[in-house]
């Protein structure tokens, strides 16, 4: 049978099972099984067992549960309050004032939690009511939060980068480091937008609180500073080549436990809760990764990724057009799939095309993650939109409208990244030269 027909059939099976509400990991494995059992003479059952086993004890993947656990420990301490009281005195003088707390807070939280819904929820729990009390524009309060929440995917250590690194077989360390500049860039875009916006909407920005002496400012952020130092240590040890991501994650876990212990936020109960929550999240993500690994084996058996890449090459699209098409496909996918599933589902097919079009796989990882970030802001399934809809009590339409400018800024970010690939690829090359 023609390979494109087979691809089409597999695609339809995937779509039908997904729409039918079957769990994503099982759907992917089932499609992989069909690919092998129906279209090839190989023994599909035993291949499934051995593929799942081989992928389940992948060393690189051990960083994932550890980073998730680190985040769970820190989120369970009083981070939400500390974030607001620690950042507010420093950012109050900028044009746009405390709206920047949302952006910078999410940036810091992103490094801690590595997931955008957690980032959004932790920062927003404290800052939304505070901003409302002081009379800030509600649309901006919601929009900045929804937008900056997506930083969770990009600023290392990021769970999505581990997921991409595993499915694309790229170095997780290099991905982490590659994400630093684009992450800061997008933070800068958001902050710049808030400043410009506040220049035109002076009435919607309440006056600043009284200026505090520097010692008082430091005192208020005394609980935030150790966390920032911990993050710097984790990322620095990877960048400096002193630790693998897994080792850095272990460092992060024990650092987080230590911080929680010092601030007496650590009890047996919170320790067990954080461990169980981390296990649950990592189990969910690993299930998807394993399902996708088997589907990739199935597709590789039939030679689908290479055939598709050759087919796309025959179409003679320019690299930019290919990228544009992929972006549109991802945005549509993002309307009903969440981030990790999107990445594992598409990497094995998209990567050969992209690489043969001359793009760097690390660069593409960062690009893909920003596009997945955008997908967190598109209805009907934008996780950040759900979180904020739940937290603010406003309807989905209001939340979506408030986030729209930040969606636009992410598009701008992708554009800049495409025009200047060095934004992502420069830092990792420095790393290699060590």
């Amino acid at each position: 049978m023609e390979i494109l027909t087979i691809t089409g059939i597999l695609g339809l099976i995937l779509l039908a099972l997904l729409a039918g509400g079957l769990w994503i990991g099982i759907t992917l494995a089932a499609a992989g099984y069909v690919a092998i059992a129906v279209f090839s003479p190989a023994p599909a059952g035993s291949l499934m067992a051995t593929t799942l086993w081989d992928n389940s004890w992948n060393w690189a993947l051990t960083a994932l549960p550890l980073f998730v656990w680190m985040g769970e420990i820190l989120v369970r301490s009083r981070l939400s309050e500390d974030m607001f009281s620690g950042l507010a005195p420093w950012l109050d003088r900028l044009p746009g004032r405390l709206l920047h707390v949302n952006i910078v807070g999410c940036g810091v939280m992103a490094a801690v939690a590595g997931s955008s819904a957690v980032t959004c929820a932790t920062v927003g729990r404290m800052s939304l009511p505070e901003l409302q009390r002081r009379g800030y524009s509600e649309d901006m309060a919601i929009g900045t939060l929804a937008g900056s929440g997506t930083l969770g995917l990009l600023i290392p250590p990021s769970i999505m980068m581990i997921v991409y690194g595993i499915s694309a077989q790229q170095s997780i360390s290099r991905l982490f480091i590659a994400g630093v500049i684009p992450g800061l860039l997008i933070m800068g875009l958001f902050m710049g937008y808030v400043m410009v916006w506040s220049a035109f909407n002076r009435k919607s920005v309440p006056p600043a609180d009284d200026a505090l002496p520097i010692l008082e400012k430091l005192r208020r952020s005394r609980r935030l500073i150790p966390i920032i130092l911990l993050i710097a240590m984790v990322i620095g040890s990877i960048y400096g080549g002193y630790a693998t991501p897994t080792e850095a994650a272990t460092l992060g876990v024990f650092g987080a436990l230590g911080l929680a212990w010092i601030t007496s936020a650590l009890s047996w109960r919170s320790f067990v809760d954080s461990l169980m929550a981390a296990m649950r999240t990592s189990c969910m993500i690993t299930a998807i990764i394993l399902g996708a690994a088997f589907l990739s084996v199935g597709m590789a058996f039939l030679g689908i990724p290479l055939k598709l890449a050759a087919w796309v090459a025959e179409l003679g699209l320019s690299p930019m057009l290919l990228l544009l098409l992929l972006t549109l496909i991802y945005i549509v996918l993002g309307c009903f799939l969440e981030g990790a599933s999107m990445i594992v589902l598409t990497t094995s097919v998209a990567l050969p095309m992209v690489v043969s079009a001359g793009f760097d796989p690390i660069w593409f990882g960062i690009y893909l993650i920003i596009v997945v970030e955008m997908a967190q802001l598109t209805p009907p399934v934008g996780f950040n939109l759900f979180v904020l809809h739940g937290m603010s009590g406003r309807d989905m339409w209001t939340v979506t409208k408030a986030s729209a400018p930040f969606f636009g800024l992410l598009v701008l970010g992708v554009l800049l990244l495409t025009l200047m690939p060095g934004l992502a690829t420069f830092l990792p090359t420095l790393m290699l030269s060590r």
């Binding site: 997904l18 729409a19 039918g20 509400g21 079957l22 769990w23 994503i24 990991g25 099982i26 089932a30 059952g45 035993s46 499934m48 067992a49 051995t50 799942l52 086993w53 389940s56 004890w57 992948n58 060393w59 993947l61 051990t62 549960p65 550890l66 656990w69 997931s115 955008s116 819904a117 957690v118 929820a121 932790t122 969770g152 769970i159 897994t246 080792e247 272990t250 876990v253 024990f254 461990l275 169980m276 929550a277 296990m279 649950r280 999240t281 990592s282 189990c283 969910m284 993500i285 690993t286 299930a287 009903f336 799939l337 969440e338 990790a340 599933s341 009907p380 996780f383 759900f386 979180v387």
Partner: protein
Amino acid sequence: MRKGLDLLYTASGGVAAVCLFMIAVTIVAQIAGRLVGVTIDSTESGGFFLAGATFMGMAYTLKTGGHVRVSLLVSRFRGRAALLSDIWICAFAMVGCGFLTWHTFLMTHDSWRFGDLSPGLLAVPFWIPQSVMLTGLAILTIAFADELVLAMRNRTPGYARPRDGALEGAEEAE
């Protein structure tokens, strides 16, 4: 019966959590070993504990609604259609998972019969960590059967119960 099953899921979830903790412990051992000049390679032990954390945690994650699915369409179903869609996914998952469990058993049996060892310094017989995978998958199959029975009796299955959680992916489309 209900209590026994719930205990089984919680216990396997507990084992998974201990495995996660052990990943961190083996890596600390590796770093500590490097500092004092002893080679401790945690590539295998860390990996095996990861596999343990993943497979032993499957059933617990399912019953607490942790595994993601696209419920955009099916959440609109009401009454009979909703019941049928629940029954169909549970039945499909149970059969699929049972099939996988069987093949995992065959794989583990082969590893035991041929005495396969892991390739690193530890040289662990592969059947030991593989039996953890087998156990986890068997419990997951039981959990799917449990969910199927619950759905057929028109009770709310564990995966569909409302839950808190700002965890990524844990919340779904309404």
